[in-house]
Amino acid sequence: MNAYEQYIAFMTLVRKEIRRYLRIWTQTLLPSAITMSLYYLIFGNLIGSRIGEMGGRSYMEFVVPGLIMMAIVTNSYSNVVSSFFGAKFNNSVEELLVSPVPNYIILWGYIIGGVSRGILVAVIVTSVSLFFTSLDIYNLLIVVAVVTLTSILFALCGFINAVYANSFDDISIVPTFVLTPLTYLGGVFYSLDLLPEFWANVSRANPLVYVVNAFRYGVLGVSDVNIAFAFAMIGGFTVIAYAYCMHLLRTGKRLRS
């Protein structure tokens, strides 16, 4: 395929992915808006007003960036895992596999599908947050970079999960038992400074800590970790996940016999 044909194939896949999650918006976009509204109301407003300051900011201000990032992580991941596993489950993935579309176009098509949903949900939950607090962006470039890199990373993780999944149960195991605990323990609701040194160090092994803190730095200028190191970690994980996804596609593992 020449470059123009590859572009057409890529746009076809992206359109297909976006159309999919917009068609079922009550399952893909609405839940995050409702869940985050409840988080803002309960943790930020009701409980947060009694907590006082954290990281030098009001608790509501502190918690909002983490919650936005939580929505991005969850949505970019679940978009790819459910879409690609669904295609595997009903064999429609063969439409792609028998066509001349290069592997990297297939991967990027799914990534952009996940990233676009992650960003769309981020816009929605950020808009909802404005009913509860005001947000002054500290560094827009960092915000954009973190959102982009993080949604790419978790879209890739969703792809890996989808390739290995054998049933719909398998695509909910990782979000339920890995992603959600890591997110909650990733400093969304608290600063690492509150933890004893040992547990703070343990927390630093959690990749979600870097994602949440890098984003919080972009929004508030506050972070528990070194921002350059956070970017290096997110970038490093993204490169590894991308290379592994390409390996899965190249070898056809669990996709071809």
Binding site: I8, A9, T12, L13, R19, E95, V101, S257
Partner: protein, 305 residues
Amino acid sequence: MTPALSITGLEKTYGNGFQALKGIDLEVAQGEFFALLGPNGAGKSTTIGIISSLVAKTAGKVSVHGIDIDEDFPGAKKFLGIVPQEFNFNVFEKVEDILVQQAGFYGIPLKTARERTDHFLDRLGLAEKRNVTARMLSGGMKRRLMIARALIHQPKLLILDEPTAGVDIEMRRSMYDFLREINAAGTTIILTTHYLEEAEALCRNMAIINHGKIVTNTSIRELLRDLTKESFVLDCLAPLPELISVTDFNVIKRDEHTIEVQIEKGQDLAQAFDGLREQGVKVLSMRNESNRLEQVFVNVLEQNA
């Protein structure tokens, strides 16, 4: 002329050690309407899977229109349209979207994709269903949707894996007409089917695959010529006499109005009719006891069991 499909020494051993293909050699010329026959589990779908890249081969060479799949699989895929045995589209998508998307995966611009979609939906009788989600289609319509999808990028080689399974007779006949038409227009077609009358009606040449090996590869006419014995069932006008026999022919009385006549290769059927006429038997109609190709097929499989 470069063959549409060339397969040399193709082998496939699955991870569990099962050897599905044991060195297949096959060549299908451009413009052919070719039948690939074989019992269940013989290796037909594995062969198609390898050609379409869904199955990785263990050894051997496959070329589509002269393009080696090991050297340029994407290039080879452009020549290839596949209609698999199982439905493999997203049943929650609209019929039109399935076709336009597939065109996109082959790098076809949206405007052209829409024009071709209109054309194939119209030709395959699905125009009224364009905005219907695929799960609402009948089994026959789903088969036609898969044919339309396989043709959307105008492949030169179309491979159909049991395309008429579960399709009613009327629909099947219109599908035959359509396939004959695109074959006449230059598309090479390879058909696998369990309906041997279908292969006999549509194809010129055929190969029979059994236990992962090609056991016969010839023209259907040649194959039928090898048929050494045929049985004909004759429906007669009046009740038949108690004893009936014709010199040199094996005649079996089935009931009061039906007899079976077995004819060896080289015998003249007219002689059998003469013999029956002498005994006052008037024949109303005649048919083959079973499909002739079916007899050959069974013979070949028994010889290579």
